[in-house]
């Protein structure tokens, strides 16, 4: 039998039952490899369920730094769930390994000739070693991690260090955990040929990077960005954004003199109220935000229209997932693009920004508060389940201490004394952005009544058509100004003069280095552009103009970003080719490159008329 031979380049899958405590053991495994200096990208596939359903945890180990999901099966599967055993055996790549609990004999029909079965009586070991049923369950997970340490030649001290970190403050738990690790390690050493043909070796590819999930980073971004008001309603996969915001605020935002909070978080009765709270806070001059997911976006849509028209700064973090109900919604997608870009009734256009990594979640969330107050409109930070809930290797977080918050055009009492006239919706600077005041600023000046549409430059009530049109044109102008304020696209020019371009955004970025390499291996040097914001910058238009064929890669069915590009930039649909993955799993380089290559084979770029 041919075995897979690999050092630091493989995928390992843990098949568990949720609610059995496997998550922390699996996480420890990934972190151990990370601490050995080897890039990893762990991904959870979990059901909408709290206990008893199959979950998988895939860890891609890649010295080359390919951090997108890898297509196909896993090289090693750790099978701890009898329920999913049949599928799990099938998911091993030929030449790979299948580590399982051999306490109960495996169904001989499941055996495959092209993979190596590593049976280990994990339950029996636990039964022998522990009396407490809970411990018997929990330590199973630690035991297989110990076995993997031997099988993959991992640094045992690193694992011990992780356990010490995990149980800081609960030192009593350290030695039983280390003991469990050793049980697994010793068993593997004695019974298997260690190390396997797949193994890990210390490297230096991690540097000072960290392993963090996007929601934690976004929550921290809200702390650093100065958010003080949060309204929210729980929904997977966005819940941990506000939970993390609150957690870090409780550490970092307590007034030392009074012990009171320099922030306010309200768990609302629903998403309508959650965004209402954020809008109330924004109207009143506090940096305010909410976080949600698709169904919440639908509920917030009416209020988003009000905020657009009433020009209220507010930040919304949308952690995208698949559509309604439960089940698929705990899978990842980028399928709220159009719902968000055009959220609400009347003519509305909303500002979107697209982080790709947790570090960008941190910075872009913090920046979003500046954009919101500068542009006086809702800013939606478009992440997704993969980015939000999985750990990603990402640049360490840093903050420029000389930075001040851009509070936008707000007049204080003294400035109000000095201005000749105040009109809330007077376009004084010609950029479509007007001056506002906070309630309570001045007894006589700068006071106005906020409403959606029916108002003139002085915020007085009007139903005249020409007043309405003038206001709407100014809002359009403001939107164009926004395109200059927002982050510019990131260009990945492989070769000047390529006629093929690829447009992508968000988590797709993780698969792109590998995609470019795969395409290059097939003789295709394509140019890449990562979108970071809507409205689109001039550079986006230029990039599309400069290429004959532009592939738009996204994680939804309907090519929503492509539609947005066509619609906003008046691009010939024939020029934009969709590359859509929407099975709920993160997109792979294999899928992107194959789709592009297939298309090029059928319709070479040179034959496409320049659009």
């Amino acid at each position: 039998m041919k075995t897979i031979n690999s050092v630091n380049e493989f995928v390992i899958r843990f098949a568990n039952t949720n609610g059995t405590g496997s998550a922390s053991a699996n996480n420890m495994f990934a972190k151990a490899i990370f601490r050995m200096g080897v890039p990893v990208s762990p991904r959870n596939v979990f059901p909408s369920n709290i206990q008893g359903m199959p979950t998988w945890y895939d860890v891609r180990v890649s010295e080359k730094g390919y951090l997108g999901r890898r297509a196909g099966g896993a090289d090693i599967v750790v099978a701890m769930n009898a329920q999913s055993m049949v599928d799990d055996v099938q998911s091993v790549e030929a030449g790979g390994y299948f580590l399982y609990d051999s306490t109960k004999e495996i169904d001989p029909q499941l055996m495959r000739k092209d993979i190596t079965f590593l049976g280990m009586p994990i339950s029996a070991i636990c039964l022998r070693e522990y009396n407490d049923p809970r411990q018997r369950q929990l330590f199973k997970n630690v035991i297989y991690v110990g076995a993997l340490a031997a099988l993959l030649d991992m640094d045992f001290d690193v694992l011990k260090g992780l356990i010490a970190d995990q149980f800081k403050g609960k030192e009593k738990l350290i030695s039983p955990n280390v003991h469990a690790l050793e049980l697994g390690y010793q068993y593997a050493k004695t019974n298997f040929n260690c190390p396997l043909s797949i193994r890990v070796q210390k490297s230096d590819k991690v540097g000072n990077r960290i392993l963090i999930d996007g929601n934690t980073a976004a929550g921290l971004g809200a702390v650093y960005g100065g958010a003080t008001v949060a309204g929210w309603y729980p929904i997977t996969p966005s819940t941990s954004v506000v939970e993390n915001y609150e957690k870090y605020c409780n550490r970092l935002r307590i007034d030392p003199a009074s012990g009171k909070k320099n922030f306010a978080v309200m768990q609302a009765e629903d998403e309508l109220a959650a965004i209402g709270i954020a809008i109330g806070g924004g109207w009143n001059g506090a940096r305010s935000f909410t976080a949600t997911s698709g169904p919440g976006i639908s509920l917030m849509t009416e209020f988003l229209g009000l905020a657009y028209f009433a020009e209220i700064p507010v930040v919304l973090i949308d952690v995208q997932r698949a559509g309604p109900s439960t089940g698929m919604p705990t899978r990842t997608q980028q399928s709220d693009i159009l719902a968000c870009a055009y959220a609400s009734h009347g003519d509305t256009k909303q500002v979107l920004i697209f982080p790709s990594t947790p570090t960008e979640c941190f910075h872009m969330t913090a920046d979003a508060f500046d954009y919101a107050e500068r542009i006086q409109t809702p800013i939606m930070v478009m992440t997704d389940l993969d980015l939000g809930m999985n750990d990603h290797m990402s640049d360490e977080l840093s903050w420029d201490d000389s930075r001040t918050y851009d509070r936008g055009k707000v007049l204080n009492a003294q400035q109000l004394e000095e201005v000749e006239e105040f009109g809330r919706y007077l376009d004084v600077d010609g950029d479509g952005i007007c001056y506002r005041t906070y309630p309570g600023t001045h007894p006589e000046k700068g006071i106005y009544f906020t409403r959606g549409t029916s108002r003139n430059e002085y915020a007085a009530y009007t139903e005249r058509g020409e007043d309405y049109v003038r206001n709407m044109e100014r809002l359009n102008k403001k939107f164009r100004t926004a395109a200059e304020i927002l982050p510019q696209p990131e260009m990945h020019s492989q070769n000047k003069g390529s006629k093929i371009g690829v447009v992508y955004f968000g988590t797709t970025n993780a698969a792109m280095d590998e995609t470019f390499d795969l395409l290059r291996a097939q003789g295709q040097n394509v140019d890449g552009m990562r979108l970071k914001a809507f409205p689109f910058a001039k550079a986006v238009e230029d990039f599309i103009e400069q290429h004959d064929q532009v592939f738009v890669v996204e994680q939804n069915r309907d090519a929503q970003m492509r539609t947005l590009l066509m619609n906003e930039l008046d691009i010939d649909p024939a020029k934009l080719i969709k590359v859509c993955n929407y099975d709920g799993l993160p997109i792979t380089a294999d899928f992107i490159s194959t789709t592009i290559l297939d298309h090029i084979a059928v319709a070479p770029a040179s034959k496409v008329a320049r659009g």
């Binding site: 309204g231 001059g285 506090a286």
Partner: protein, 350 residues
């Protein structure tokens, strides 16, 4: 279209402690129907704020959508206002208060806005005891959309078109009491003597103050078979406890016989002096209040007055533990933990 009233001040107009006149508390000229109860509610609010010498710019007025929710344009022209979306003013008021706890918040809503589309938000703003005065101008009908029945309309009464109302009525004060409001009152837009002191007390109360004001719609719900017409309401109101409002700076002079009156002292030192009506009950007893409302309803009477007040209970900011300084005044020096704090955070992710 509304236009501004003349700013000309008559020299003899009375001034309050801030040197402001009643005029300084008015808003734009109303565009509501002549005789609409909502205008009287607005006028009572103007008088209450004037007499309390509130700084107009330190009051924020919020509303949903409806004729009643349009009313804030017609009072307190020197206060910021926000006409939000239908039924969702409570959440906007919540966020506004979270951002700046130092302003006084006045919410103006209708029975459609509160008892139907906004029922969820109403229930929850009561629960969180937001420090605000929440007024429902209750006319039993949707004015702005031209006459559909509201959820507060009495079952068995008839619409202007003669249709019988089939659905049970929602009694908002009862709901507010059940959900934890710390000040609950009911009044009638046609009874300024009762309404103004109640509004003053509500504005001075720290916590969620709810006032259900029967406010007839002359255009769609003032007919003979309506139970929200001026005539019907006038004939069926029954004032329970009669409330006087005594500001903190005023000496208490009037004396009542033992057992006939009760004083409730508010946070700012002002007093609500209550004289028991013919079947008055202890208005600090929540169960008694719910019971009294229901007893009167069964008799076909509408109980008005201060129904319940407990000034000792905590409000939202007490629960949240928010700092006294308005959050909207904090800057990066206070809010941003700085780069050094990230060192430890980064390390926890290695």
């Amino acid at each position: 279209m509304s236009y501004l009233k003349s700013k000309f001040h008559h020299p003899k107009l009375a001034k309050n402690d801030l040197g402001l006149t009643y005029r300084d508390y008015e808003g734009a000229l109303s565009t509501l129907c002549a005789g609409c109860g909502h205008d009287a509610v607005g006028a009572a609010l103007v008088q209450a704020c004037f007499e309390l010498s509130l700084e107009p710019h330190k009051v924020a007025k919020l509303s949903g959508i409806g004729c009643s929710s349009k009313a804030p344009t017609y009072f307190l022209g020197k206060s910021h206002g926000f006409n939000t979306v239908h039924g969702r003013m409570p959440s906007v008021a919540t966020g506004a208060s979270m951002a700046n706890r130092s302003l006084k918040y006045v919410g103006m809503s209708g029975d459609g806005d509160t008892a139907s589309i906004g029922m969820g938000q109403f229930a929850h703003v009561v629960r969180r005891r937001l420090d605000m005065t929440y007024i429902v101008a209750n006319n039993g009908v949707y004015g702005l959309t031209k006459g559909q029945t509201a959820a507060t309309a009495d079952k068995g009464s008839h619409t202007k078109k003669g249709e019988e109302i089939l659905w049970s009525a929602i009694d908002l004060p009862t709901m507010a009491l059940q959900l934890g409001a710390t000040f609950v009152a009911r009044s009638f837009s046609g009874d300024k003597d009762q309404l103004v002191p109640l509004l003053k007390a509500a504005l001075c109360h720290e916590g969620f103050a709810f006032i259900d004001v029967l406010s007839p719609c002359v255009t769609f719900n003032n007919h003979a078979t309506s139970t929200r017409s001026y005539d019907y309401v006038r004939e069926h109101v029954e004032a329970g406890n009669i409330a006087d409002f005594v500001p903190s700076r005023e000496e208490i002079t009037t004396k009542y016989a033992e057992g006939e009156s009760k004083d409730i002292c508010l946070h700012d030192g002002s007093l609500i002096r209550l004289h028991k009506g013919k079947d008055g009950y202890d208005p600090t007893d929540r169960f008694a209040a719910i019971n009294a409302i229901e007893q009167h309803r069964i008799k076909g009477e509408i109980l008005t007055g201060l129904l319940y007040c407990d000034p000792t209970l905590r409000d939202m900011h007490d629960f949240l533990g928010t700092t006294e300084t308005p959050l909207n005044t904090l800057d990066e020096k206070t809010l941003c933990p700085g780069n050094h704090a990230l060192a430890g955070i980064n390390n926890s992710f290695r």
